[in-house]
Symmetry: C2
Subunit: 167 residues, 2 copies
DNA sequence: TTTAACTTTCAGTAATTATTGAAAGTTAAG
DNA sequence: CTTAACTTTCAATAATTACTGAAAGTTAAA
């Protein structure tokens, strides 16, 4: 396989995988493109490479910037903006974790806490509260693990997990 | 808040959260309904409660059974099938982890391994391979942690993580 | 200032994904 | 068998989500 072909395959595949994670396909493709690019790219570069509209580039680049995994860069003598992806994959992992925790875990905790307030001491009510409590405890735990991962440094994954990962 | 109101809110909220995780809204609602129900429910019960069609119930219940978090149950003297959700939340967590690992992590590893085969020793090629390698190593590590969680028992979360979770 | 090189917005439209419901398939009871 | 009580399928359609492109907005240079 030739380099550009490989890069292209990477960009395409990333996009299609993203959809199975509930992430916008184009957003993933733009990120993949920036990640494997050796130089900053302008909106036009992205439009041309991915064959998408100006508006689409703008929206998705903005989302990536929101996620904290892409940043603007200025090139001397050029009026327009260029974009680069952070090449540090551990940092990428942490940012994605942070974003997904915010989108997927925190709202769950919030809702469960709200629902647990229900005051019903019937058999059925108690059973419901038991389920809520169990959901809460697992969710909260997962949340604090992710919280920790976000704060941790690159060796966290390796060192803290080694003992339990080996069979 | 009254019990049925709370159950209802739980079902609705679960559905809307699910969409932000790339999971079908109805599937999440059906699961939520079965989880808080004290008795097995038939397809008709689900249709009536959630106001959805027979076909939709059938498809989503089947998906939940595929995920391994709902099972069929037979009631003596009744011809039709009834469904129940596993009430063990740790088991639920493990099954969801298993399914998402399969959908989200494993395909990534497969693609990265394929792409790493590229033979290009230019500066740019090396840089690309560096990125692929970094992506691989983090992904593989996350994968083995999840693998471990799936095999582990209920105390795994608590015991193995306690030391690093406390500040 | 004014102009021109850009970026952003957003209404309209396209693409994707989920749902319906009626028809076909299956199976237990008579 | 035959019937009836169910379950499954799937083409048509609805709902949701993403994308386009032209117009409006912004800002740096002349």
């Amino acid at each position: 396989m030739e380099l550009n072909e490989a890069k292209n395959k990477y960009i395409q595949t990333w996009g299609s995988l993203a959809t199975s994670w509930g992430i916008n396909k184009t957003m993933a493709q733009v990120h993949a493109l920036l990640l494997v690019s050796t130089k900053p790219l302008s909106a036009e570069d992205i439009m041309d490479t991915l064959k998408i509209s100006r508006g689409n580039v703008n929206m998705n680049v903005r989302a990536l910037i929101d996620w904290g995994i892409v940043s603007k860069e200025f090139v001397v003598g050029e009026r327009k903006e260029f974009f680069v992806a952070d090449k540090d994959i551990w940092e990428l992992f942490k940012q994605i974790t942070k974003e997904r925790k915010k989108r997927e875990i925190e709202p769950v905790i919030k809702v469960l806490d709200e629902l647990k307030k229900i005051d019903d001491s019937s058999e059925e009510g108690e059973q419901f509260k038991k389920v809520l409590g169990d959901l809460s405890s697992v969710t909260t735990k997962v949340n604090s693990i992710l919280e920790n991962a976000i704060k941790a440094d690159e060796h966290w994954l390796l060192s803290n997990f080694t003992k339990m990962v080996k069979k």
